[in-house]
Symmetry: C2
Subunit: 327 residues, 2 copies
C-alpha cells in the first residue's frame, strides 16, 4: 500500500509537508500542487487513523475475547485486525481470560480512552455495564435486541452434524459438550443436535457436564471408556468444538476403536492453528473471515447510527475430512 | 471508586510514588512491590486519559508480528498483552503478514500516534526507518548494538538438539529448515546444529531450501521420500520449528517409518495451540512468557533511558516427548 513517504518522495517534498497537506495545514502553493499530483498518481489514500488522531477521535477498536491463544480465536483476531485495517482502524487486544473483572476493567479503559468502539466475545454478563456512549458489537452472544451481534448459525450447525452422521449410516448418536454459563454458542449447538435427533427419530445421548476446561479431556476419556465397557455403543459423535473432538479421538484411539470405521466424529469450528495447516477432523466450519467482516461493518453502522445494518446469523458449512466415512 | 490516595495509603508510600509507578518512572524496588500489591488488592484502575494528557504519551504499545494466527505467535501475543496490562499498558496488534510495506505503514502509524513504543518480530529490514523518537524493542532479531532485542538462545537450542539425539543413540543427523532472509532465529538454530555436529564428529546433512512457507510441506515430503528410497538413512532429525517437525512426521508415517523406533524427531518452539494442549513432538522449548516479560521490561527501560537493562538471550529447554526414545 502506498504511504506518506512514497508521496513525499514523488512530490520531492518532506514527509511533514505531505502531513500538513493532509491535515489541511497551509503549505506553499507550489508544494500543494506537487503533492496533489503525487497523491493522484500513486492513488494514495490518506491514513484515516492519523487524521482521526489529530482530530482527537480514536480509531482504536477494543477487541475483548477470552484468549487469543486458541486456533479459533487467533484466526478471528487475525481476520478482525485485517478488516479493521482496511477501514483505517486499529485493534486493541484484550484477553479477558474469562475473568469477569478483567472484562469490566477493559470496558472502563475503553470508555476512558474514547475508543471508536468495542467488539467482544464475552461469556459474562457485562451487559448492564455497557453505556450508550460506547458503540458495542457482540460476537457469538445474544444479550437483547438492543445489542447488535454477529454469530454463526450454531443451531443450524448442530442440525447439520446430525444430518451428515445419519446420511453416513450412524444409528446411535452422542453429543459431547460442556455447560458454560452464558455461552450461547454451545447452547445453540446442543439445541440443534437434540432437535434434529428428535425430528429424525434417531437414538441419542448427550454428555454435557458442568466442568472446567482444564479437566474436560479427562472427563471425556472416562465417560467414553465407561460407556463402551458397559456396551453402550455410539457410532456417531458430534462435539461442540474441534478441541473436544480431538479429546474424543485420543480416547477412542487409546481404546482401539477405529475412526471412522467404528465411530464417526464431527467437530465444530474448522479453525486451523495456522493458515496452511491441513485439518483432519471432519467439522462444521464457522465462516471466520465473514464474522470478522460483518462485525466491523456492524460496528461502523452503530457509530453512524445506520439502522439498516442489523445483527447477522451467518451460515456454516460441513467439512468432510478423515473422521467420517465418504458417502 | 478507588483512587491514587487509597493506593498510596495501603502501600505506605507517597502519592507521588504511586504516580511515578503508574507513569513508569523508576521507583525503589521495595516500593514498587508494595504499590503493585496495593493496586491488585484494591482493584485500582489508573485514569489512563489523565496520564496520557499529562505525559503527552500514549500507553499503547504497538506489537508488529507476521501473524497472530500461529501457535507460537498467539502464545507470545497472549503473554505480551498480559505483561503489558500489569504495567497499565495496552497492546495494539499489527499482523504484518511478512509484508515489508505493511510493517513500514505500522511504524508510521506508531510514530504518528505517539505510542509508548514498539515491540516487533520482523524479518524485514525496517531498521533504517526506525526514528530515535519511537522506543523500539526487537524480538528474535539482532539488527545492531543500538537496537535492543530479546531472543531465545537459538544457537544453543540447535546444539542442544544434536546433543540429545546423540545421547539417544542417533548416528546420522538431518536438519530441516528454510532459508528466510532476515530470519536470524533460523540461521542461529542451523549454526548451532552444524557446529555441534562437527564438534561431536557425527554425520549430518542439512535440508534448507529457499522456498515459500506454503509449499514447504511438499518439499519436505519429496526430499525424505527420495532420500530414503536412495538408501540415504537418517536416524535423527532436528527441525527448525515444530511445524516442520509435524511435516516430517506426516511424511515418515506415510512411508511406514517408525517414530521414534527408526527415526527420532526434535522440533523447536514447544508452543501449544491452546494453553492445555498436550504436546506430542519432542522439542526445544522457547521461554515464551519470559520473552514477553523481558521485552516489556526492556521497552520501559528504553523509554526511561535506563542503560542498566540491556538485550537478553534467554535459555531454552528440551521437552522429551513422544518422538524421541526415552533414555
Amino acid at each position: 500500500m502506498v504511504n506518506m513517504n512514497d508521496v513525499a518522495k514523488l512530490a520531492k517534498v518532506s514527509r511533514g509537508t505531505v502531513s500538513n497537506y493532509i491535515n489541511n495545514v497551509r503549505i506553499k502553493e507550489e508544494s500543494r500542487i506537487r503533492v496533489d499530483e503525487a497523491i493522484k498518481e500513486l492513488g494514495y489514500i490518506p491514513n484515516v487513523a492519523a487524521r482521526e488522531f489529530k482530530t482527537n477521535k480514536s480509531s482504536n477498536v477494543v477487541f475483548i475475547l477470552p484468549t487469543v491463544w486458541n486456533p479459533f480465536f487467533s484466526e478471528l483476531t487475525y481476520q478482525l485486525q485485517i478488516k479493521l485495517k482496511q477501514k483505517g482502524m486499529k485493534l486493541l487486544l484484550c484477553n479477558s481470560q474469562d475473568d469477569y473483572r478483567a472484562e469490566l476493567e477493559y470496558l472502563e479503559i475503553a470508555q476512558q480512552n474514547k475508543v471508536f468502539g468495542i467488539i467482544s466475545i464475552s461469556y459474562s454478563n457485562i451487559m448492564p455495564y455497557l453505556t450508550s456512549e460506547t458503540p458495542y458489537v457482540a460476537i457469538e452472544r445474544y444479550y437483547n435486541d438492543d445489542i447488535p451481534y454477529v454469530t454463526s448459525d450454531n443451531e443450524g450447525g448442530g442440525k447439520m452434524a446430525v444430518d451428515e452422521l445419519i446420511k453416513k449410516g450412524c444409528q446411535k448418536l452422542l453429543h459431547v459438550t460442556r455447560q458454560v454459563d452464558g455461552n450461547n454458542a454451545l447452547i445453540a449447538r446442543k439445541k440443534g443436535f437434540e432437535e434434529a435427533c428428535k425430528e429424525e427419530k434417531v437414538d441419542y445421548e448427550i454428555f454435557s457436564p458442568k466442568t472446567s476446561s482444564a479437566v474436560f479431556h479427562k472427563d471425556i476419556t472416562l465417560f467414553l471408556k465407561e460407556a463402551f465397557e458397559k456396551g453402550q455403543y455410539f457410532d456417531g459423535i458430534f462435539c461442540a468444538t474441534d478441541r473436544y473432538a480431538s479429546y474424543c479421538q485420543d480416547a477412542l484411539m487409546d481404546m482401539g476403536i477405529g475412526i471412522p470405521e467404528d465411530v464417526q466424529l464431527i467437530g465444530f469450528d474448522g479453525s486451523r492453528s495456522y493458515a496452511t495447516e491441513e485439518l483432519k477432523i471432519s467439522t462444521i466450519r464457522q465462516p471466520v473471515e465473514k464474522i470478522a467482516e460483518e462485525a466491523v461493518n456492524l460496528l461502523i453502522a452503530v457509530v453512524n447510527k445506520d439502522k439498516q445494518k442489523t445483527s447477522k446469523v451467518l451460515p456454516v458449512t460441513f467439512l468432510d475430512l478423515k473422521t467420517t466415512k465418504s458417502n
